[in-house]
């Protein structure tokens, strides 16, 4: 799926270069370039990591120290106090439960609806396939804002306003284009010939899918499901518009931003961020395969 070059091949090519290009000054410049690349890599990594460390530092200090100023670079006292203050605040745990249930519902619906479409795109040549792909792709260029406002009105009419189902349906609409394109590329990575071989050995097309393609694509499909979960877990605009008394965690935190004290805000930021990091770590192998592929 990804076109990484074989390092051994790269070496061989380097040896075939004309002699004059491998003179000492050149290779010195090359070493310098390598060092420069490591310096750049480290600086960029610090740019990403330092803010994450800083929010962790202000979350795990005693609550009365959160507003300490000036701050010391290393917290002088560690404590779960600030975090527990957030955890025990009114509404946090019900909102967390809402977030989890909505994310799971979104995963179920988006995979159930999107994966068959992805499979069709990967396995069949049919009239309209390209039109369908372009339609799905272009839906990604539409802002969430334009969907959530009319849907809030619609859900009111349907009598499901302010329910988990309403938010999950909205999140499914957001995740569906991703799921279709991601699963399509996952199914493409398993050769169609394998399924056809199973069919010549007496499997029905469905059995062939179940016994051949599904086991081979399961890790990729799991990654797609995890990605969908994170998408729903992180989404705040639609969730805030569509919920009033049953907010998701991001909706609750957004609503509390202007009125809550800093310790609550910081702990909330940390708590929203932490699960996503774990999930990203689980699907790290698929980073380029999923996003790189889909975005193009």
């Amino acid at each position: 799926m990804t076109a990484t070059t074989d390092p051994a091949q790269g070496e061989a090519r380097a040896d075939e270069r004309p002699l004059q290009v491998r003179t000492p000054p050149r290779s010195r410049r090359h070493t310098l370039g390598r060092v420069g690349a490591y310096v750049a890599a480290t600086l960029l990594a610090l740019w990403v990591l330092v803010p994450l460390v800083l929010i962790t530092f202000v979350t795990f200090v005693p609550r009365e120290r959160v507003r300490d100023f000036p701050k010391t670079w290393w917290p002088q006292e560690w404590s779960a106090d600030t975090f527990l203050f957030f955890w025990n605040s009114a509404g946090v745990r019900p909102a967390l439960w809402n977030s989890i249930v909505i994310a799971l519902m979104t995963v179920l619906m988006a995979m159930a609806i999107g994966a068959p479409a992805g499979y069709a795109l990967a396995r069949f040549t049919f009239r309209g396939a390209n039109a369908y792909r372009i339609t799905v792709l272009s839906t990604r260029a539409f802002p969430i804002v334009i969907l959530s406002i009319p849907l809030a009105v619609t859900f009111l009419i349907w009598g499901i306003a302010d329910t988990r189902l309403a938010v999950a349906l909205m999140h499914t609409a957001l995740a569906l284009p991703f799921v279709v394109l991601i699963t399509s590329s996952i199914f493409l990575s398993v050769s169609k010939d394998l399924e056809e071989a199973a069919q010549t050995l007496g499997c029905t097309p469905f059995q062939a899918f179940l016994r051949v393609s599904l086991p081979l694509t399961l890790p990729g499909l799991t990654a797609a499901a995890i990605f969908t979960f994170v998408l729903s877990w992180n989404e705040v605009f639609a969730a805030s518009i569509l919920t009033l008394r049953n907010p998701t965690l991001p909706a609750l935190v957004l609503d509390a931003l202007t009125v809550s004290p800093l310790p609550f805000q910081f702990a909330a930021g940390f708590f929203l961020m932490a699960p996503s990091l774990i999930f990203l770590f689980l699907i790290r192998k698929y980073l380029l395969g999923l996003w790189g592929r889909v975005e193009r």
């Binding site: 990804t2 100023f69 539409f142 499914t172 705040v236 957004l254 999930f279 193009r296």
Partner: protein, 313 residues
């Protein structure tokens, strides 16, 4: 595309002719109900007179809104500031990844981390840096650069407020562009870069004359995606600026939730959509992915397989 089916293939899939359509059907129905219909509804709402008929009242109300001008201006300023910063950062990250350093996959994972961080969490993370008793002020005072903590996020310091939002948004949303660019870079055959290097092209020249032209399809898709996202920046602004600054999506939110005015909210949403689609059209027109056809990006994106060969040829 489908018309080129060979007879043999058609026969083989004969009894399955309907299968792909059956598999696509649920997603089509879902997209119709939860994508197409709300889009139509949004425009109906935005052009609905109080009496219920067609009219420009919501649009007029939106434009008469005291913060409309500010919201539009701030959104556009943020867009213009965020996108270039992100492209420089993402390009640097992608080039570092492509340099095949030791631990390449670790670097990639680190740079990708913000991909999983929500806009709201990113806003709060950067709030801990920019707030008056935050990390930046602590550092500036400890190094003696400041005597008193500075109110970076205050209403009166608009420039700093915008800078903080740009940094936070650049921090959060650069990863996705980085990933697109890394995938694009990997599709450039290494011979091209080696040849350029042998002929003495320095890093800048390699970027300018080899990498950028060959990355054009990736750049185009990334630009469109980024612009659309920057036009709906929301939670990061609320977290960092509170009520001191407003953007289009925040106004839409306010009209929907606080003022209970879905018509005006829909008008704001329609404006965001209008801006997004004009930006997308502009990029498709300015940066045709292939010289032959102006609508390359979507077609390319729609055909994952053959595209790679086309690029490498």
């Amino acid at each position: 595309m489908a018309a080129t089916d060979t007879p043999d293939r058609t026969r083989r899939l004969g009894h399955l002719g309907l299968a792909p359509y059956v598999l696509l059907l649920p997603s089509l129905v879902f997209l119709a109900v939860f994508f197409a219909r709300p889009m139509v509804d949004a425009f109906t709402l935005a052009f609905e007179d109080p009496s219920g008929g067609f009219g420009l009242e919501p649009i007029r109300q939106m434009m008469a809104d005291s913060r409309f001008g500010e919201a539009l201006r701030t959104t556009l300023i943020l867009l213009v500031a965020i996108v270039p910063v992100q492209f420089v950062l993402a390009m640097s990250m992608a080039l570092v990844i492509n340099a095949k350093l030791k631990g390449q996959s670790v670097w990639l994972y680190i740079y990708a981390i913000p991909l999983a961080v929500s806009e709201l969490a990113a806003g709060i993370i950067w709030l801990s840096i920019f707030t008056q008793r935050g990390w930046l002020n602590s550092w500036l005072i400890q190094t003696g650069l400041l005597e008193q903590p500075f109110d970076f996020l205050g209403y009166q310091n608009r420039g700093w407020l915008i800078a903080a939002i740009v940094l936070a948004e650049a921090w959060r949303a650069t990863s996705i562009i980085m990933i697109i660019l890394v995938a694009g870079l990997q599709s450039i055959p290494s011979d091209y870069l080696e040849a350029a290097e042998i002929y003495g092209a320095n890093l800048w020249k390699r970027i300018r004359y080899v990498i950028l032209p060959m990355l054009r399809p990736s750049l185009q898709v990334a630009l469109i995606l980024r612009t659309v996202l920057a036009l709906q920046v929301f939670a990061i602004v609320i977290a960092l600026a509170g009520a001191s600054m407003t953007v289009l999506s925040a106004e839409a939110y306010k009209w929907q939730v606080t003022y209970r005015g879905p018509n005006v909210a829909a008008a704001y949403a329609g404006l965001i959509l209008l801006l997004s689609s004009s930006a997308a059209a502009l990029f498709l027109w300015l940066l045709p992915a292939s010289p032959r056809s102006g609508r390359g990006a979507l077609n390319r994106a729609a055909r994952p397989e053959p595209e790679r060969e086309e690029v490498s040829r």
